[in-house]
Amino acid sequence: MSLDAPAKPIPQAREITTKPRVSDQIFRSIVTAFSFSALIILALIALFLFIQGFSTLKEQGLGFITNFEWSVTTDEAGKEIADFGLQAMLIGTMVTSFIALFIAVPLAVLTALFLTFYAPERVKKVLVTVVDLMAAFPSILYGLWGLFILMPMAVYWAELLHKWLGWIPLFDVPQPIFTRSPFIAGLVLAVMIIPIITSVSREVFAQTPLDRVQAAYALGATKWGVIKAVVLPFGANGVVGGSMLGLGRAFGETVAVYFVLNIVFRTNFEILFTQGGNVASMIVLKFGEAGETEIGALMASGLVLFLLTLIVNFIANAVVNRTVKSGR
């Protein structure tokens, strides 16, 4: 080979860039666009409920939250007089939800502790499945069960409570009618929110740093000693967050409450009496026979419910996220 053969052209150095190729740009923009669906849907929900409920909100003003009348009447001139107030329903929602929390939190925390620290492996597997299954039951099934199976028993429990603790105003009743009371609705809701509180608590308890647990054992603590001194202080925030998630669930529950609660527009703190309120169930109850004005009021109620659950969920998630992250 001769030396003076024409030299091959030196290949140009490939241009190095961090700019994504066209296919990637398309991919990224499509995925990014879809990821905003959550934001868009939430915004649209608030927007449309606000538009449809606007006239009611404007007409009733703050009274929409603080009044407890709910009526549409026509006066002699044929003009509609609408009076919408959510106070009884809002307070009723709080009452049933807090009864539910009061019952569900201890049970859920005990179950979570049992699952994390006491249950043998085989029992644990079965029980975790049972709790997950509970979360998958349709809410109408809880309603049916609450109405036909739980109610007869719960009425008897309510009678006992009234008999022995009736001197506390909370357990007093104007008339001895114990069916379809906030107490029973609270019981059904409690069963419904147990799975979510249990699974969040379990997740947090399982993240307790092992070194601290073993240090406690090494100092001679019993199992309960470890739980009290290490696990519960570590997991307290997670339990609070989980309970708030449960609270959000209870606020928005519709169908199950509908069957086991007698919805009356009167603020009632006598939890054993057959009279209570619930925003979500009221919407379903009134929707069937609602005229145009009332539909607007129902939309406004939906907006209030939506914002209420959104706030509770925001706080709950913030609390849970912080705890779970700090554990890692």
Binding site: P20, D24, F27, R28, I30, V31, T32, F34, S35, F36, S37, A38, L39, I41, L42, L44, I45, F48, L107, A108, L110, T111, F114, L115, F117, Y118, A119, T129, V130, L133, M134, A136, F137, P138, S139, I140, L141, Y142, L144, F148, I149, M153, L160, I194, T222, K223, W224, F251, G252, E253, A280, V284, F287, M299, L305, F306, T309, L310, N313, N317
Partner: protein, 349 residues
């Protein structure tokens, strides 16, 4: 010199004496329980059960205090009370399952799953008419919700795991918030946005839209967990071979997570299959077959159950129980499927 044969012992196992003590404590508490229940106005099986739980707690503590002192008692109490919590929770679940099966079976017959309610009403005796139209309607709604929610859910999850853009934290937070949207609000929203504003009226499509709002967060969160489990090496290997990110995701990451993504879909379906409240606003009613998802009402299992309970006769209630048994069977099938498909992926790892 002879070697001594050492037989393994289990010093922690319960000795006959321990067993006798446990048995005697159980018997003693049972006896006390019967005494208490008969001596007070309490009645019923549950009363026996709960009084037994409490007396056993006390009696057993008395046994423990002799051997381990006060600290031992507190430990034993904690172990028992947590067990009780789990027992009470399980009792509620089994009560629900038992009620559904025992009440629902009476109304099941061939006609119930092969006919519709066109020529029958809730007040007819059991055996006339069935809920096949509602089963088909529910499956139709589920299919529509899957078509809308699964792509959206998985793409959102891809954004959170693969692109990890600037808004990832915000999106994560919003998805969590979205999973707390009450189901009744989803129904009201579709009603407010579409039925009041467009010529579209209650139909299976609108029901599916409402359900997909509830399904997206479940799909997103589960898919995200699964995608996070795909090893980084796989992604890096794909990129190192010169593939674009798009090709890596489509040909490496998603196939690796396939069974997990199916689980995410099934869990989403289980979440929405029994939703009732949104359907009351969006699907309307119809007691025959309606295969057009865009026009006219559709019967679904939840709305049929709802109507059956509202009708108030024993036959209607029986139909409601049987329909919920079918609904529960559908949910259970989804549940078992999700577990088996999901566990396959985790075993591979």
């Amino acid at each position: 010199m002879s070697t001594t044969q050492v037989t393994p012992t289990r010093p922690w196992a319960a000795s006959p004496k321990d067993r006798a003590l446990t048995a005697s404590s159980v018997l003693l508490s049972a006896a006390i329980t019967v005494g208490i229940v008969l001596g007070t106005p309490m009645k019923g099986k549950l009363a026996y059960f709960f009084v037994f739980l409490i007396t056993w707690l006390i009696v057993d503590s008395l046994y423990v205090v002799r051997k381990f002192g006060a600290k031992g008692v507190r430990d034993a109490l904690a172990a028992k009370i947590t067990l009780y919590g789990a027992v009470v929770v399980s009792m509620a679940v089994f009560s629900i399952l038992w009620a559904t099966v025992s009440e629902g079976v009476a109304g099941l017959n061939l006609a119930f799953v092969t006919e519709n309610m066109r020529n029958a009403s809730f007040f007819d005796p059991i055996g006339k008419g069935g809920v096949l139209h509602a089963i088909i309607g529910t499956l139709e709604l589920i299919l529509i919700a899957i078509i809308i929610a699964v792509p959206m859910g998985i793409l959102t999850a891809l954004y959170l795991t693969e692109i990890k853009g600037k808004a990832a934290g915000l999106i994560q937070f919003l998805v969590q918030a979205m999973s707390g949207v009450p189901s009744v609000v989803a129904g009201l929203f579709i009603y407010a946005a579409i039925i009041l504003n467009t010529p579209l009226r209650a139909s299976a499509f609108l029901g599916g839209l409402a359900l997909s709002i509830l399904m997206i967060p479940t799909v997103t969160r589960t898919s995200q967990e699964v995608l996070n489990l795909v090893p980084r090496d796989l992604r890096e290997a794909g990129l190192a071979m010169g593939a674009t990110q798009w090709k890596t995701v489509a040909l490496v990451v998603i196939p690796a997570a396939r069974s997990g993504l199916i689980t995410a879909t099934i869990l989403g379906v289980a979440r929405i299959a029994g939703e009732t409240a949104p359907l009351l606003f969006t699907v309307g009613v119809f007691d025959g077959y309606n295969f057009n998802p865009f026009v006219g009402g559709t019967g679904t299992l939840p709305t049929v159950i709802w109507a059956g309970l509202g009708a108030g006769t024993p036959e209607a209630a029986q139909r409601a129980w049987s329909a919920i048994l079918i609904l529960l069977i559908i949910v259970l099938i989804m549940f078992v499927l999700a577990r088996t498909v999901g566990s396959r992926q985790f075993k591979k790892k």
